[in-house]
Subunit: 239 residues, 2 copies
């Protein structure tokens, strides 16, 4: 019970947190952190997260790199990969390649966390491994929900509530953070049928015409992967 | 169903909202907006909300003004009034006076909303009048929770959820905002015993030594007042 747990509900709030000596878990369930977990577990050798589309363009003609760009939930014109984790499933063309990724919210969250001691990538796909690693570490933890354009989004909040409940139940963390109470309650309410709960959320509006139902089902699956990506020298890697 | 309803959960998020043509309801339940509603309903003639302590100091020797300054939940040294609504109850010395107020969160929220079309002050103390006014107006509405130092706080979220539920049930508003779903769910969970729910929140830690139990009970009381303070030319007034 000696480590403190907090939740930041959106990118716009991160400056209100002191990241010093903390481990920060980046969360962008639909879909950046689900993509990062999937791509690395499926054989991509490293992921570079950048904020601007112009930064990824310079990698377009480099055969060592896969280049992925998403804005407003869609693949940016001129790019082959967007923000769908399914693109990286059972795809021999990605093995051993490096991935450069820019997305609406998730990559910004990663690059806003560089003052922390350590950055990990969280998704439902690797939640149990993540839980175990956080319990073992001797560091306070901030679960950093990317949200949507500076606002709160339900899917990241649900994940934060799920992970927070596990960490607090382990008795190795305490919390004085109202966002933790809020997120745990909402997860408790929705956990039996997250998909149906989310159908009512703004994400339905955000992505109505994008036909990403298969992506959403995949991103809500628990524990498909054991790997927990971490940030090192500008790259996201797994051991 | 033609007016849009959104909730901003903390001051750090307000820049992600477009305030143009909106009516913004400022919420700082513990305790700035509860103080503003109480002071005006009890006879104070106007409230001036300022961000900095140095701005209020110049009013200290002006007998037309009451001067109130709170930081971290406490009266600032050298000031007679802090942020307790009870100071303004049945107090003949306040009648007809002007009040200059600076608080940790609430006054900043007011001064961050000046790009909106209209600013109203919300609290449980005037919630039904506020609900009626918002239903009558032909404007989209943002419920703006002051939160705590850029973070989310439970008591403002509960109020936002309560007001949002009433407005959506009136069928004159729609919402696509995940914070509305979140706030309504939390209010539904806590509404039978808000005090007990809040005892578990970080506010207990924030104010443990301040002995403000009577204030908290008062601030959670519904519909003590019919007046809804509004902002005009730098002042908060009632009709």
């Amino acid at each position: 019970m000696d480590k403190e747990l907090s939740i930041c509900l959106s990118t716009s709030m991160i400056e209100s947190f002191d990241l010093t000596n903390k481990v920060v878990v980046i969360v962008d369930i639909f879909r950046a952190t689900s993509v990062i977990c999937t791509a690395l577990s499926q054989g991509v050798s490293e992921v570079v997260a950048v904020n601007e589309i112009k930064e990824v363009k310079s990698f377009l003609n480099n055969e060592n790199y896969l280049v992925a760009a998403e804005r407003e939930g869609r693949i940016v014109e001129g790019f082959k990969f967007g923000n769908s984790p399914l693109s990286y499933l059972d795809n021999p063309n990605i093995v051993g390649k490096k991935l450069v990724l820019t997305t609406t919210n998730g990559t910004r969250a990663i690059n806003s966390s560089l003052d922390s001691d350590e950055i990990l990538i969280g998704s439902f796909l690797n939640i149990s491994s993540l839980e175990n690693i956080l319990i073992e570490k001797n560091k306070d933890c901030i679960i950093f929900c990317s949200g949507w354009k500076g606002l709160v989004c339900l899917e990241d909040t649900l994940f934060a509530g799920c992970l927070a409940s596990r960490l607090l139940n382990s008795n190795s963390f305490f919390s004085q953070c109202d966002s933790v109470i809020l997120s745990r309650k909402i997860y408790d309410f929705a956990k039996e049928d997250m998909l149906n709960f989310l159908i009512k959320s703004s994400y339905k509006e955000r992505t109505r015409e994008l036909n990403i139902g298969a992506d959403i089902n995949f991103c809500l699956s628990m524990d498909k992967y054991d790997d927990v990506p971490f940030y090192k020298n500008g790259k996201l890697l797994i051991d």
